[in-house]
Assembly symmetry: C2
Homo-oligomer: 77 residues x 2
């Protein structure tokens, strides 16, 4: 399955391999798909307040959020 | 290293093995220690709003938060 187009932006901090690039940035590899999806929604809506993530998620469509969640969830933990 | 006393409460949802017990609950095994610690602080202070996690973290001392973060971070992802 092709990685989602918006992966590049995420990979800058979370890595294409899903390993956070610094200690404050969570690993996403093998995380629960549903959890990843609900966090992206929460960042976009502001329900989960986070400056950078709100900025990064502001243009994501629901379909892109699902694709990103699926991509990172299926990476080996 | 003895697992932290408060682990039992966390394990009910996150597992002693750090695998979330349902799709909405994040895996914690192998997560970045610093990230886990800052999230516990944010849940306790309310900076990261979350009903259950605020309840669970309300009595945690700073020292317990560090021990829990260290415990889950060192579990194999």
């Amino acid at each position: 399955e092709e990685p989602p187009v918006s992966l590049a932006e995420c990979a800058a901090c979370h890595g294409a391999d899903g390993v956070g690039r610094d200690e404050e940035i969570p690993n996403l590899a093998g995380q629960h798909e549903r959890y990843l999806y609900t966090q992206l929604q929460a960042f976009k809506s502001g329900k989960r307040p986070h400056k950078e993530m709100r900025y990064e998620s502001r243009h994501l469509s629901d379909q892109e959020m699902q694709a990103l969640a699926r991509y990172y969830a299926q990476l080996a933990r």
